[in-house]
């Protein structure tokens, strides 16, 4: 019989080893999955992980790593603050959409005026939009004790309807021949979130993600607010005893994660996506939840996890087009990563014992 025994002290070694173990197990079982689909598992995994970085067309894919990684990291860093405190914002996708709508709306309202102030105003509006959307579950939670998981998740679907309404109505391109979708911000210099260095994928969103990572790192390691977040997640009663105000913490964590998700949406709509359209959102807000946990809710870990996740996205696309792997298989592959991470995570706090069981 095997049984689990709680470690007296969490294992530092396993805390760092679990992500690697999870990746290794995902390789193995993902390989089995691809083999069962009749594909060469080694080739499939190489396509996903090798091609984007070192393959023939790496010059095209490598910048994509930053383009796709930046929103994931930006959103995940915000989410990780709340997750550490046991405040579960599951609706970053909705905050991402609303941030994009608000930011784009400011830009479109100024069209066609040119000014260096337009883009900063859009950034502010994007952050504010995401923040406001996240304040809905936050205020409902502190006022009425509603569950922020459900409210924030439901608001994603509301935001999607809002997005559709905007692309078909208020923000529709008046010169777009009736097609849904807004003007393309890429063709509006004052509002365009262009690459800072051509050909690198480096845009303002990447800069914002790095700033957010540093901010979160200092906050958690050195600041009393970060300490309050960690204590609340570990022992809510001890947190109140030490002087933490739970209401403020809920507002701060949901607000910050909402604002960062809104920023991610704005940088996306003003840059790589270019316009508000019905299918603007592609699930960054949900994938960021995986990224946050894969990165152990640690800012540096989240950077690595965000890049890894971006890699599986890009590599997954290549595998789909080159090897004909179904999209669902790629999603299962990504899901495995989180599954194994959570499974191996158990070993940080428990160890396996072999031997007979004993009734206690």
């Amino acid at each position: 019989m095997m049984r689990l025994e709680k470690r007296p002290q969490a294992s530092q070694g396993f805390a760092y080893a679990t992500p690697l173990l999870a990746v290794a197990a995902t390789f193995f079982f993902g390989g089995l999955l691809f083999a069962a689909l009749g594909k060469d598992p080694v080739e499939a995994i190489a396509t996903i992980f090798w091609q984007p970085l070192f393959g023939e067309f790496a010059f095209y894919y490598r910048p994509q790593l930053l383009v796709k990684g930046a929103p994931l990291v930006l959103i995940a860093v915000g989410l990780s603050l709340g997750f550490k405190a046991g405040i579960w914002n599951i609706g970053a996708e909705g905050q991402y959409i609303v941030g994009a709508i608000c930011g784009a709306a400011v830009g479109l309202a100024c069209y066609p005026a040119q000014s260096a102030l337009i883009f900063p105003a859009m950034v502010l509006a994007g952050a504010l939009g995401g923040w406001l959307w996240a304040m809905i579950p936050a205020v409902l939670k502190v006022r009425f004790g509603t569950n922020e998981i459900l409210v924030s998740l439901m608001l994603v679907y509301v935001a999607e309807q809002l997005l559709a309404s905007m692309s078909l109505g208020l923000l529709k391109n008046p010169e777009g021949y009736g097609f849904p979708g807004s003007r393309n911000l890429q063709q509006y210099p004052s509002a365009h979130n262009a690459e800072l260095i051509a050909g690198t994928g480096m845009h303002w969103g990447v800069v914002a993600a790095l700033i957010a990572v540093i901010f979160a790192y200092v906050l958690l390691a050195r600041h009393r607010l970060g300490f309050a977040i960690r204590v609340t997640g570990e022992a809510p009663r001890a947190a109140r005893f030490s002087g933490v105000r739970p209401v403020r913490l809920v507002l701060f964590c949901l607000g910050t994660s909402g604002a960062l998700a809104g920023l991610a949406g704005l940088f996306e709509v003003a840059g790589p996506a270019g316009q508000i359209s019905i299918d603007f959102n592609v699930g960054y807000g949900f994938t960021a939840i995986i990224v946050a946990f894969l990165g152990r809710l640690h800012p540096i870990g989240i950077v690595l996890a965000g890049l890894l996740m971006a890699l599986t996205y890009i590599g997954g696309d290549i595998a789909q087009s080159q090897m004909g792997l179904p999209a669902a298989a790629i999603q299962v592959f990504q899901g495995m990563l989180l599954f194994f991470l959570l499974a191996f995570d158990l070993l940080t706090h428990f160890r396996l014992r072999l031997g007979r069981t004993e009734a206690v």
Partner: protein
């Protein structure tokens, strides 16, 4: 006479600790046998083996001379062993009879069972109504439910684990009468406790355990409490003491403090008033769950109170938050160490930061100085003899007594004006408890006002200048502790909760 139960060379080891090492003892029919020892001496492990919850690594047990090795509690019960645990396993929302039926193998119809319960409760002087909801019962009454549940199975051996820790002195009297009657009828009782006077009053013989080994046996009636304590602890204990107390100006005053309960099962605070002078120790007794946690939360600032209810040196502090009160010198140490007073998964350094940030200058403009926090943690570890490899160890990895020393030390070393502690020595071994009490006395000598909330009356009598009792959220009028009789204390604690002492 063949002993009812004899244990020979029982040994049980857990990873890193030998809980029982070659333990032997014998209990005769009708004997009340005390099992005496400090926390961690191995008493619980020993009775768990008798009750079939734990299997011994080696050694044998015999019941009436026949081998006895219960693989599970059900087998032990079938062989005539009943056990009343320290913590009850009862459902609040069910009636007494329903609760008892749940624990039985073949429960009779509820009506018949109620009649049996009534019969047993009359016979043994344990007043109890079968149709009352358990949620409405006092701790003493809940214990009676557990005892009657055992007695219905007509046990030959009844194991009682620390039964008086939740009782008022009057309820203890009722319990002892019942146990004496059972013993006269031939039921053996294995009585676990560390309260020496009780054992001297009740038990026929005693086995003393220390660090898993039997260190001696004695006949309690013929042995002094001091001698038994020495056997139990292994050394002569220094009794905490202080020079003649001198009281200064009034520091804390609580005036008509009332607070609604936090939850449906919580206890409200009702109209609590008292004052506290510098250099004074106020002992607050009472059975657990009568508002102790709530009172501490109101004083520490975890819960805000109506204006005018709590004042420090004349200034209202009822609206201040915990850290604002800490800045003024009002500190507290809650009862629950893991999860309330300390964060289990965080290091001692981080736990030192938890309450020390404001007063020890560990924080500047919101930024935390971890180096200073580590120094503070080390200072606590040295001053209070906390046994830990380093300040980086998680609070969870410390033994209960060591963590308690850390928690108390953390507040004492912050030089409080007013310190409120709840159950400061709960689960702490005797020498550590003495050290903690001495620290509280020294604090008072230094001019601080101290409130000690505890269920250990001996402790309160030892260190308090005045004594009051919490009962159903009400605080009795504080009275000078010197010269209070046990009966008076019992009445302050609510007597037997409205129950007459049964005549048997």
């Amino acid at each position: 006479m063949t002993p009812l139960l004899s244990l020979e060379g029982l040994t049980k080891a857990y990873p890193g600790v030998v809980a029982n090492d070659n333990v032997s003892l014998a209990i005769n029919p009708g004997e009340v046998h005390a099992l005496l020892g400090e926390n961690g001496a191995g008493k619980s492990t020993l009775v768990k083996m008798i009750y079939g919850l734990v299997k011994p690594d080696s050694g044998t047990m015999r019941m009436h001379g026949a081998p006895f090795a219960p693989p599970e509690p059900r087998a032990a019960r079938a062989a005539g062993v009943g056990m009343v645990f320290q913590h009850f396993s009862l459902f609040d929302a069910l009636s007494v009879a329903e609760n008892i039926a749940l624990g039985m193998e073949n429960a009779p119809k509820l009506r018949d069972l109620s009649r049996q319960i009534k019969a047993v409760s009359d016979t043994y002087g344990l007043p109890l109504a079968p149709d009352h909801l358990v949620g409405d019962l006092s701790a003493g009454e809940r214990q009676r439910v557990e005892i009657i549940r055992c007695l219905l199975q007509e046990p030959k051996l009844l194991i009682m684990d620390e039964p008086t820790s939740v009782l008022t002195p009057q309820e203890v009297e009722i319990l002892f009468k019942t146990l004496r009657k059972l013993s006269q009828e031939g039921t053996s009782i294995l009585y676990i406790s560390h309260k020496l006077e009780e054992i001297r009053a009740l038990c026929d013989s005693a086995t003393v355990l220390r660090l898993g080994q039997v260190v001696g046996t004695c006949i309690p009636r013929e042995t002094s409490a001091g001698d038994m304590a020495e056997m139990m602890v292994g050394k002569v204990l220094s009794v905490p003491s202080r020079a003649n107390p001198e009281f200064g100006a009034e520091l804390l005053s609580v005036t008509r403090l009332s607070l609604p309960p936090l939850s449906a099962f919580g206890m409200p605070l009702r109209d609590i008033s008292f004052t506290l002078r510098a250099g004074e120790i106020l002992g607050i007794g009472g059975v657990a769950g009568n508002g102790q946690d709530e009172l501490l939360s109101a004083l520490s600032g975890e819960r805000r109170t109506p204006p005018g209810a709590i004042a420090l040196e004349g200034a209202d502090i009822g609206a201040l938050e915990p850290n604002q009160r800490r800045a003024l010198g009002v500190l507290a140490a809650p009862e629950e160490r893991l999860g309330h007073a300390a964060v289990p998964n965080m290091s001692l350094t981080e736990n030192a930061m938890l309450t020390g940030a404001t007063r020890m200058g560990l924080e500047k403009n919101g930024f935390l100085n971890w180096g200073a926090a580590q120094d503070f943690a080390r200072e606590i570890i040295t001053a209070f003899d906390v046994r830990t490899p380093s300040a980086q160890n998680a609070a969870r990895a410390l033994s209960g007594g060591n963590l308690q020393k850390f928690v108390i030390g953390r507040e004492v070393l912050q030089d409080p004006k007013v310190l409120i502690v709840n159950q400061p020595t709960w689960g702490v071994d005797a020498s550590a408890a003495a050290a903690i009490r001495q620290a509280l006395l020294d604090l008072a000598t230094g001019g601080a006002a101290v409130i000690v909330i505890s269920q250990d009356l001996d402790e309160l009598m030892e260190i308090s200048d005045r004594f009051a009792a919490l009962n159903e959220g009400r605080l009795s009028e504080p009275r000078p502790a010197e010269g209070l009789s046990v009966e008076e204390i019992g009445m302050m604690m609510g007597g037997a909760h409205g129950m007459e002492v049964a005549h048997v």
